[in-house]
C-alpha cells in the first residue's frame, strides 16, 4: 500500500509567516553530516553508540561537563553538594521542566529514570554502580547514597546512560521521545541518507529565540570527500571529521569555518607484560622509544597531538611534561641488553590493531619500518574489534593497539579499566599486575570526591609508574577533533566530553 515518505507526514510550508520582532527568524534546517548511520538504539537507558549525537539534543542529564572549566555545570539540576566523604550527594532540580510527553520532571521521575537505566544493565549503565539508593525528600531534591565515594556530579554528566527521561514514554521504535531536551523527532528513516530529522520542542524550559535552529537533519555521508563537497556547496552545515588535507583546505575556504579541539580520546599501545618477549621490561621500553611520536603527529597534521601521559588535557589528572620522544639509539641499547637488536637474533613481535582506522595504520607503518632497522619484525594484523578483543582476552598478541575514552569526563576509567589487574582481563590488555598500582587506583574516586589536588598528584604518580617504570603502555597521541562548519553558523563550541555532539540549541544564525 502507499504510504507517504517521512514519518511526520504533514508537509510544512517552507516560508514562515511574519517575522516576530527582535532578530531574523531562522527558518533554515541545520544539516549535520555524520559518517555513520545515526541511530541504532532509541532507548536512553541502553543507548551506547553513535546516536548520542542526536540523543544529546533530545535528552538531558542532571549536569553537563564544561571542558573549559574542567567541572560539571548545572543542567536539570541547578545545584548539588556532596558529603565530606563523598558518599552522599544531594541534587536540587530545576523547576518547571516538562518532558516531551507532557509529564513534569521531578525528583520521582529522576529516581525512576536512573533506576530503570541501572536495571537495564545495558550500555554504560555501570556508571551508576556506586549508587546504593536514591531518595526523594521532596519534589525538587534527589539524594544519592553511595557504596563508595565517587564523583557523582561527573557521573551525572556522562554522555551515555545519564539521561533523565519519562520512563513511561520510552519508545524503542523512535516515534516518540521521552526527554526534556530542546528537540524531538520529526522523522526517522533508518538506512536512508537523510536518516533523522529533529524539530524544536516548543515547551523547552530554556525557551526559544528566533535565530535558533528549529530543525536539524542528519545526513549520513560516509565518504569525507563527499561530505566536504556538500559542505562547500552549502548542502550541509557541519562535518564531524575531514582529513588533515581537506581540513587545511577548509581553513582557507570562504563560507566555511573550522574548529579544532583536543578530544578525550587517545591511542594506547599496550605491551604484553605477562608473556612473550615483551615480558622483559627493557624490550617494552625499547618499543616505547622506537615510536616516532613527532613524525606521527606531523603526519596526522593536526588530527592528533602528541600525548603527555595517559590522561588527555582537559581532564583532572592530566600530567604535563610527560611527552615521549623517539630515541632509536637508546632503544637499540636496551634491545642489546635484552639480547636482541641488529647484531643479535631477529625479534618477532605480533601486533593487532583496528581495521579500517587510518591513524592507527599510520602508527603501524611508522613503527614497523623503525623496528625493521632494529632487526625487529612486526607482524601487524588489522582486526575487527570483536576478533581483536577476543584474541586480546586470550593474551594472543605482544602489542595491542586501541583507543580509550571515558564514559564520563573523568580520568578514572583509564586506570580502573585498563591498568588495574584482573584475573580475566577485560580491557587490561597489557595484563599488568601490580598490587601497589591496584591500591593506588582504588583510592582515586574518594580522592577525587574529597581532595581534588591530592587526586591530581595521585594521577600523576600512577602515570609515571605505569608508563615509565612498568612501560606497560605507550601513548602516541591524543586525537584532535577537526570540525568544519558553514560560516553562517554562530555559537559553536566543541565539547570533547560529548564526542561529535553538536548542541544545536546553542547555535544561531
Amino acid at each position: 500500500g502507499g504510504q507517504v515518505r517521512g514519518a511526520g507526514g504533514t508537509p510544512e510550508p517552507r516560508a514562515s509567516t511574519g517575522a516576530p520582532a527582535g532578530g531574523q527568524v531562522n527558518d533554515s534546517t541545520f544539516v549535520y553530516a555524520p559518517n555513520h548511520d545515526v541511530v541504532t538504539d532509541w532507548d536512553p537507558a541502553t543507548s551506547y553508540s553513535n546516536e548520542i549525537i542526536a540523543l544529546s539534543n533530545i535528552y538531558e542529564g542532571l549536569t553537563r561537563y564544561d571542558s573549559q572549566a574542567k567541572q560539571a555545570k548545572p543542567r536539570l539540576a541547578t545545584e548539588w553538594k556532596s558529603s565530606g566523604d563523598g558518599k552522599q550527594w544531594t541534587f536540587t532540580l530545576r523547576q518547571g521542566v516538562k518532558f516531551h510527553s507532557g509529564a513534569t520532571m521531578d525528583a520521582e521521575a529522576v529516581k525512576k529514570a536512573i533506576e530503570r537505566t541501572k536495571d537495564k544493565k545495558g550500555g554504560a549503565a555501570y556508571i551508576w554502580d556506586p549508587v546504593e539508593k536514591i531518595e526523594t525528600p521532596d519534589a525538587s531534591t534527589v539524594v544519592f547514597d553511595l557504596k563508595y565515594a565517587a564523583p557523582l556530579d561527573l557521573v551525572a554528566a556522562s554522555g551515555y546512560a545519564a539521561w533523565i527521561y519519562d520512563v513511561d514514554a520510552v519508545d524503542a521504535d523512535g516515534e516518540k521521545t521521552a526527554g526534556t531536551g530542546p528537540y524531538t523527532i520529526d522523522s526517522w528513516q533508518k538506512g536512508k541518507e537523510n536518516e533523522l530529522t529533529l524539530k524544536a520542542f516548543e515547551d523547552y524550559w530554556g525557551g526559544w529565540k528566533p535565530e535558533q535552529y528549529k530543525k536539524v537533519t542528519f545526513r549520513v555521508t560516509p565518504e569525507i570527500t563527499t561530505a566536504w563537497q556538500l559542505l562547500q556547496r552549502g548542502e550541509v552545515n557541519f562535518v564531524e571529521r575531514l582529513n588533515p588535507q581537506l581540513f587545511d583546505q577548509a581553513r582557507a575556504t570562504q563560507g566555511v569555518q573550522v574548529k579544532e579541539t583536543e578530544s578525550f580520546q587517545n591511542l594506547l599501545v599496550l605491551f604484553n607484560t605477562a608473556e612473550g618477549p615483551a615480558k622483559d621490561v627493557r624490550i617494552r621500553q625499547a618499543l616505547q622509544l622506537a615510536i616516532d611520536y613527532d613524525g606521527l603527529s606531523a603526519a596526522l597534521e593536526g588530527a592528533g597531538h602528541k600525548a603527555s601521559g595517559l590522561v588527555p588535557p582537559g581532564l583532572l589528572g592530566h600530567a604535563e611534561n610527560m611527552q615521549p620522544k623517539q630515541d632509536l639509539v637508546k632503544a637499540q641499547e636496551l634491545l642489546a641488553e635484552a639480547g636482541y637488536g641488529p647484531d643479535n637474533p631477529e625479534l618477532e613481535l605480533s601486533l593487532t590493531y583496528g581495521i579500517g582506522d587510518e591513524d592507527q595504520k599510520l602508527l603501524v607503518t611508522l613503527l614497523s619500518s623503525a623496528l625493521q632497522k632494529l632487526n625487529v619484525t612486526l607482524q601487524a594484523k588489522p582486526m575487527n574489534w570483536g576478533a581483536q578483543w577476543d584474541l586480546g582476552k586470550k593474551r594472543g598478541q605482544d602489542i595491542f593497539v586501541m583507543y580509550w575514552y571515558p564514559d564520563y569526563p573523568d580520568a578514572y576509567s583509564w586506570f580502573l579499566n585498563v591498568f588495574k589487574s584482573a584475573d580475566k582481563p577485560q580491557f587490561n590488555l597489557s595484563y599488568l599486575k601490580n598490587a601497589e598500582i591496584d591500591a593506588a587506583i582504588d583510592k582515586l574516586p574518594e580522592l577525587t570526591a574529597t581532595d581534588v589536588s591530592a587526586a591530581a598528584d595521585s594521577y600523576e604518580e600512577l602515570q609515571r609508574k605505569i608508563i615509565q617504570e612498568e612501560a606497560a603502555v605507550a601513548v602516541p597521541y591524543v586525537q584532535t577533533y577537526q570540525r568544519a562548519l558553514s560560516s553562517d553558523v554562530q555559537g559553536y563550541t566543541d565539547n570533547p566530553a560529548y564526542p561529535n555532539v553538536v548542541f544545536f540549541y546553542d547555535l544561531k544564525r
Binding site: 508537509p11 570483536g386 577476543d390
Partner: protein, 338 residues
Amino acid sequence: MLRYLTRRLGQALLVVAGVVVLTFVVMRLVPGDPAVAFAGPKATPEQLAEARARFGLDDPLPMQLLAYVRDLLSGDWGISLRTRQPVLDDLYLAFPASLELVGAALLLAIAAGIPLGVLAARYKTKFPDFGVRLGSMLAVSVPVFWLALALQTVFASNLGWFPVAGEYDSSLDTTSPLTLWTNITAVDALITGNWPILTSTLEHLVLPALVVAAYPAGVIAQMTRAALIEESGQDHARLERALGFGETSILTKFALRPALNPVLSLIALVFAYAIVNGFLVEAVFNWPGLGRYAAESIRSLDTPAIAGVTLLVALVYVLANLVVDILQGFVDPRTRTR
C-alpha cells in the same frame, strides 16, 4: 516447455538451498563472537551471555542450521548486529535504492553498449571499430572507485552540472511528499506523477549510474560486437547479402536477434554482480543502497546482515538467470525446443 521450466525451477531451488548452506557455513567461520559485536565494545560478561542465548549460539551446529532455515522460511532473516533492525527490514530499504541505481545503469549500458557493438561490427577493422574496442576495454579496466571520484570531482564539484551526492533533494519531502508503492524512488515518483522528485532523482542518478554503467557497457559492447561478427560470418549472412541487403540491415535485422542471446546471459550476470559491486560507487555518491549496506556490514562483522545480503543477491542472481532463460526463448526461437 513446461517440463523445461519446472526442471529449471528445480535447479534454481537447489542452487538457492546450496547457497543457504554455504552462507551458514561462512557465517559460522567468521571469527569474533557475533555476541560481542551485538553487545558492544565494552560489554560485560552477563551482557555477552545474554546475547549468546539470544542468537542461539550455544546450540549444536546442525540444530542451528535447522533453526536458521526455519527462520528464513518464516521471514525472519535475523537481526542486524549493527543496526539492530530486522535484516529483512534493512534489505527492504536498501535493495530498492540499489535496484534503482543498477537498473538505471544497466539501461544506460544497454542503450550505449548494443549500438556501439553494432557500430563496431559494421565497420570492423576500421576506425569506429578501433574506437569502440579501445573505449570498451578502457571502460572495463578502469577501477570504479577511481572513476567515481574523478567524475564527482569534475562534473559535480568543479563544473556543478550535477548534484554531488544523494538520492534526491530531501527538502522536496516537505514540499512534494512522495507516496511510496514500490519503494523505488524514481518509479514511485513516476507512477504518482511527482515531477519535482522525479527530476531531482534523475539528476542525482546521472553520475553514479554512469560510473556503474561503465563496466557493463564495455562488456556488452564487446560481446555484441563479437556475437555480431560471428553471426554475420555465418552462412545465412551470405544469403542475405546475396538478396541485396546492405551490411547494416543484415546486422540489425537478421544478426542482432540471435546475437543477443549471449548478450542477454551476460546482462543477467552483470546485473547480479553490479548490485554488490556498486558499493564503492554507493559510498562515494552517498547512495543508500545494498552495496553500502553490505560493505558496512562486512566492516563490522555483522554476520546476520552479511548472510542476508548474500542470500538476497543469490536469489537475484538465480532469478535473473531464470528470467533470461525464458527471455532467450523469445529472442531466439531455436532455444524454445530445449
